[in-house]
Symmetry: C2
């Protein structure tokens, strides 16, 4: 698993314009290794220079292994080169790339691609995100059922270089036409594995070798169903068909792993009350992250408001009994008792727990997926500070509205004369302070734990909520002291 650090060597070769050395570097190593070596330390221009020394097929392989964001940068820099690479890339990966590019760049590149490829790209482009169709590739191996095993292997020799996998070979029917006369996808009759083909007698017919009890996916199914199917059947690939059992493409095992990781991230985010965020934590747009968080924070804030009413109903019972209170009122002591403020404590504390859960969920997952490193702590800190401020402003506004218009009468009765706005400001500033603190602590603690060599996943949502409760109480009472 360990590879020497290639960075300095590549830099030297670039300086010396040693294209023979660069070609060897690209051709000898696994394309994923080459991509990893180039990923962090080089500019898009430099990466183009390094890989352009290699064969076009190698270039495409290395390019596919680069992170999506870098692919986009490189494509914007050098459209003609990308146009060339597209013909060699996996059919699903190239569509993924084009989806990420700005429409005008995609258009410009598409003009450089030949007719057949353009049609194939357009076909895959039409499938909705998160469907099986968007996951599949069209570069599968296929044969008619009338060949013998030996003929089939000969045919595969021709097809193999262009196919994503040749380990499953799909057996297709004669060409079909739709009622309107346009060509329809060929019907899927069966599948034969390369393993079976190798084991079979040379003259056995594919038609007789093939497996006809087929497990297929539908192009419009949710991509989330795919991992379960692969886990159950231990597939390397699965065919995707349309309503007429016409073969549209295949989904391969490597895409499934990506789906599983994406689904796990979404599950974790949902459990931490964050709407799904596509892409890396640090690369996702600020407003996308804000939106995915503010919605749940507000929903939870509204629900939590019931605690005010419930507290207000019961809080009176903790007070001295009414006849004695009358006596107190005579003494004018009631005006200085701020005990009514406790009804707002559960609401204010919960904000910290929720904002903290969100932040710790996002940062812990980003650390696990290596989207964020410990050395990024300051960027994360700044981001969560800003995020905390914007979330706090939203919740603060809600808190003002809620505490001004809807504070229960039993509580209002106890507020000292003319101090209603003090109450409103206390709730608003406490909510804002606690929200900001929660977000920053939730984001920074996982990084601190990782830096100490621990497991950031220990910063569970309840743990963050507990910590932020302690801080929340301090903030709350200090804000009370400030305004009363």
């Amino acid at each position: 698993m360990s590879h020497p650090l290639f960075g300095p060597e590549i830099k030297l070769m670039l300086d010396e314009r040693n294209s023979a050395g660069l070609r060897e570097f690209c051709e000898q190593l696994h394309p994923a290794t080459v991509a990893e070596a180039l990923d962090d330390d080089f500019t898009p221009e430099q990466i183009w220079e390094v890989i352009s020394s290699a064969k076009i097929r190698t270039q495409a392989s290395v390019f596919e292994y680069l992170p999506p964001a870098l692919q986009v940068q490189m494509a914007e820099k050098a459209r003609p080169q990308v146009g060339q690479l597209l013909t060699q890339m996996s059919h699903d990966d190239r569509v993924d790339l084009l989806r990420r590019l700005p429409p005008r760049v995609t258009e410009a590149i598409m003009r450089l691609v030949d007719e057949a490829d353009r049609q194939d790209i357009a076909r895959l482009f039409q499938y909705g995100e998160n469907t099986v169709g968007a996951l599949m590739t069209t570069d599968y191996a296929w044969l008619p059922g009338t060949l013998t095993a030996a003929e089939a292997i000969d045919q595969l020799r021709q097809q193999a270089p262009d196919r994503e996998t040749i380990y499953y070979i799909y057996v297709l029917d004669d060409p079909q036409r739709r009622p309107d006369g346009s060509p329809a996808p060929r019907r899927l009759l069966g599948v034969v594995s390369l393993r079976d083909l190798i084991l079979a007698p040379r003259h056995a017919l594919i038609r007789e070798l093939m497996e006809t009890d087929l497990v297929t996916l539908r192009h419009d199914e949710d991509a989330g169903a795919v991992p379960q199917l692969f886990a159950r059947y231990d597939f390397i690939a699965a065919p995707v068909v349309d309503e007429q059992f016409g073969l549209l493409g295949i989904v391969t095992h490597d895409d499934v792993l990506d789906v599983v990781t994406r689904e796990a991230t979404e599950d974790l985010q949902r459990q931490g009350a964050v709407g799904p965020i596509t892409g890396d934590y640090l690369e996702a747009s600020f407003w996308q992250v804000w939106k995915s968080r503010v919605f749940w924070l507000c929903v939870l804030f509204f629900l939590q408001m019931f605690t005010i009413n419930v507290m207000a109903r019961y809080e009176g019972k903790l007070e001295p009994k009414s006849d004695e209170r009358a006596a107190q009122a005579d003494l004018k002591t009631a005006t200085t008792s701020l005990a009514f403020m406790v009804v707002f404590i559960p609401l204010c504390l919960s904000v910290g727990g929720n904002a903290g859960s969100q932040a710790s969920t996002l940062v812990t997952r980003a650390l696990a997926l290596e989207q964020v490193k410990v050395s990024d702590w300051f960027r994360v800190f700044l981001r969560e500070l800003l995020m905390g401020v914007s979330l706090a402003a939203t919740l603060g506004t809600l808190a003002i509205a809620r505490s001004y218009f809807l504070t229960p009468d039993s509580v209002l009765a106890k507020v000292p004369d003319g101090a209603v706005w003090n109450l409103v400001w206390v709730v608003a500033f406490a909510v804002m302070g606690i929200c900001l603190t929660g977000a920053v602590i939730g984001a920074m603690l996982p990084i601190v734990i990782k830096w100490w060599g621990g497991d950031p996943a220990l910063m569970s949502s309840p743990f963050i909520a507990t910590l932020s409760d302690v801080l929340g109480i301090i903030i709350f009472f200090n804000v009370v002291a400030l305004f009363f």
Copy 2:
């Protein structure tokens, strides 16, 4: 993806002792489909009867696809049959099975297995859980580097039926010996894919075709590292080596999917403050689940206790000022004020949020993995009721200790004479009531949401915490009213 329901048909064939029909059912369908059809509706004895009509290789394949718990039941029922199946099963799957069986059953079965298989099993048995070694299989395809491509394909024809995958062929060195003369694993020289072999000229030497820039796993590495490697390189299988680069086995893509799912479950559980639970939610032993939950609940409870001190420090400020309090004391009103009880509110509420997060995390994940169905709601309810009671008892004891010995003096000063035990009982019963309510609600809400056709993942930890806050306040004040 959809298959007709085979259940009634199989039952009929069993009644009629129609072994030809049963054989056809087993041989014609995908073994995973057969296993699925048999899984829910049949007893271990019936399943043996169904599959024993098929070829021994088919029996082994179907058996491998049955859920682990059922495999164990079947193995305990029919040791000789299992002994036979073991020789045909994947080398990693059979070790997984033997690990799960009681030691005496494992021993009895091992006596029925021939020498070579027994040695192979013993070798794999030695690797620690969650290591790469425990994940790997030893039935890989290998060749010496001196063969030509055509010879290699001929050789593979011999090996293929027994190998987990023949799509990567490992090229090994001559036999090695350790310094003490015992045989050591053959050194890994390279790897060639079946695809390359098919594409290569017939007379090309394997040695020259093979890839030598190898990405390998070490047998003692953590299994958690495997998915990342597979995701990066899009492997179907990866070789596992020892310190001397001797090939020990391979890890295949299907095992990786299992690891990813297991890791995602663990991440979710950790985020919900539950220690990792192996196996299904309903099948895991009560005490295992209890242990994995009570630890974190107690840790969080201890941390949360700081809120008492912080609240006690500030709570005085909410009270009437001291000179007026003196006046109150004269009026003997202080004895009826229970405002000091609010210092315990954050602690009590947090218990509900934590217990609820744990329960909702476990049940939501179990629903997603289909370990729990909506129809299991009563079993889940009973289990969480019992679990809630045992967790509540533990926390209640802690609460008694904490509130009796460690209540801050400033709070004790306000407790009415002789009412210290009332305070202790209030805290203990409130904690217990809230813990139980949290656990039950956390477990049942995801099921209710699923029953309504919604997504149970919406029951995030913060959501459950919010709901349980509202209920927690009601419980708290009612317990206060009960004891004062």
